[in-house]
């Protein structure tokens, strides 16, 4: 941590889900109960999160399933707005949230690349220039012309990974997507992530694979019951994470 310039700063962040707690499943129930209840009930997924991640850091989020890690990444990528508090980002974000999400199964690989790049805000000229690079990195070869519904899960993750990293992000969010694909491609992805890191990018990493995490990251946070319980070195957080399962 030679350089303590903040890249991401969360101050007192609350994130809520809005759900119909009264369990309306139909319009009839809704109309009969109109006025009795509020339409949507607020439920806190993350509460009072304070976190600072610095430039060039690789930071891991550890926690049980459903503890709010993915929601935190969604909030960082701007998909969910915080209910309260402030999320400050000091760079362009590339989210890699789950494998194959956002891919349109009826379209071909190339069509998907074009669509995703446009949705990520790239211009037509940029997409045209980068297209061969993306296809090349994905190693999909002939298969880029197939409809994505004929892809294996590994191929889908290759495609989505290749699209996500193309913009040379300053902040890369990775949500358990590196564990798919064959060993060769996993290595390649890890290498690419390291390369992006060496170029000065900040990486936030969600994974249950502790070896991967300790290999990649220096600091980590433990997310539990919707709060960041502890921030420290990967070893310390890993220890606390394991303790969660001991009783």
């Amino acid at each position: 941590m030679e350089n303590l310039q903040p890249m991401i700063r969360l101050t007192d962040v609350d994130i809520c889900f809005y759900i119909q707690e009264n369990g309306f499943v139909s319009m009839k129930d809704f109309l009969l109960n109109l006025g009795k209840y509020k339409l949507l009930q607020k439920s806190f997924v993350l509460k009072n999160v304070n976190l600072q991640i610095n430039k060039g850091e690789s930071f891991a989020l550890l926690g049980k399933n459903g503890s709010g890690k993915s929601t935190l990444l969604r909030a960082l990528s701007g998909i969910i707005m915080p209910e309260k508090g402030k999320i400050e980002l000091f760079g362009a974000v590339a989210p890699l949230l789950g494998l194959g999400v956002g891919l349109e199964h009826e379209l071909t690989g190339i069509e998907n690349i074009r669509l995703c790049c446009a949705l990520m805000g790239m211009t037509k000229a940029e997409i045209k220039k980068r297209l061969p690079e993306i296809i090349d990195f994905s190693e999909l070869g002939e298969a880029v012309n197939w409809q994505v519904k004929r892809y294996s899960t590994g191929m889908m993750s290759r495609l989505s990974f290749s699209i996500a990293i193309i913009k040379q992000p300053e902040i890369l969010l990775i949500d358990e997507v590196l564990s798919v694909g064959d060993i060769g491609f996993q290595q390649k992805c890890l290498k690419k992530v390291m390369e992006i890191k060496e170029n000065g990018a900040t990486i936030i990493f969600v994974s249950h694979n502790f070896d991967e995490v300790s290999h990649m990251c220096t600091r980590a946070a433990l997310v539990n019951h919707g709060t960041v319980e502890f921030v420290g070195t990967v070893e310390e957080v890993g220890e606390k994470y394991r303790q969660l399962f001991e009783h």
Binding site: Y18, E83, E106, E111, A118, L119
Partner: protein, 256 residues
């Protein structure tokens, strides 16, 4: 939906790409592709001519029916597409940081593109059915924009509720055939006794369809009443759509 968003070129690009995707997906894996959009009004036209021509004592009934059908199909189908646009794009909504207004807007753009494409052969057909072209055709584009405002606003309003209660899309597909008979398409308003014609005017769709009748059937600019009412209805729809969307978009991610 701030001003900056509507002027943002990245946003335009994204909306356009989504619209192209929608059109590609609609006709992928189908042999006849876009012709399906034309087949439906043609079959209806045939039925209307066979069944309703005898009771409608108006000139060029086929032209009347065709111009009504094309725009009825456009309005009713595109409202449904706007309603379901959030759910149809759930995966993208959850994984890419894109303003959620992109989805209804792209559904609207796709619907307009589809309309314009089918309108080319239909326009030729209209001449055979007795259409007389004149300057009133110039009213088409401005009026299409007003209609798009109505569709987008109503679709946005219902689409927002539909994220929470999927009943809306089912309700819409159930009541829309009833509205088809409530709107003068298969019959001319003159068929009703004079004292009952005001009933037709309680139907918001009436003003839009009758304006299209003005342009393509009567070859005249939409009447002041038709245009004014359409404009007001469109403005009102956009208003309620905007309010509902703004209030409830925060619940989209957790309910889609």
């Amino acid at each position: 939906m701030s001003k900056s968003l509507l002027l943002n070129s990245g946003f335009h690009n994204a909306v356009l790409s989504l619209a192209i995707k929608t059109i590609k997906l609609r006709y992928k894996n189908s042999f006849l592709g876009i012709f399906w959009s034309m087949l439906n009004p043609l079959i209806f036209l045939l039925i209307l001519i066979l069944v309703f021509q005898h009771i409608n004592h108006i000139e060029h009934f086929a032209l009347y029916a065709l111009s009504g059908l094309i725009f009825w199909n456009f309005i009713s189908a595109s409202i449904l597409q706007v309603i379901t646009s959030f759910i149809d794009n759930a995966a993208i909504l959850k994984s890419i940081n894109l303003h959620p207004f992109s989805f209804p807007l792209s559904a609207m753009v796709a619907a307009i593109f589809n309309l314009l494409l089918t309108l080319i052969p239909f326009f030729i057909l209209m001449f055979f059915l007795g259409y007389q072209i004149n300057l009133s055709i110039l009213a088409f584009v401005p009026f299409l924009i007003v209609s798009a405002g109505f569709i987008l606003g109503l679709g946005l309003f219902l689409g927002t509720i539909n994220v929470f209660f999927r009943d809306i899309q089912l309700l819409w597909t159930t009541i829309i055939p009833a509205f088809f008979y409530f709107t003068p398409i298969a019959y001319a308003p003159e068929l009703l006794p004079e004292g009952q014609r005001f009933l037709l005017k309680l139907n918001p769709f009436y003003y839009f369809i009758d304006s299209f009748h003005d342009i393509f059937y009567r070859s005249q600019f939409p009447s002041f009443e038709n245009f004014g009412m359409s404009f007001l209805i469109a403005a009102f729809s956009l208003f309620i759509g905007y309010i509902a969307f703004k209030k409830y978009r925060k619940g989209f991610i957790s309910n889609i």
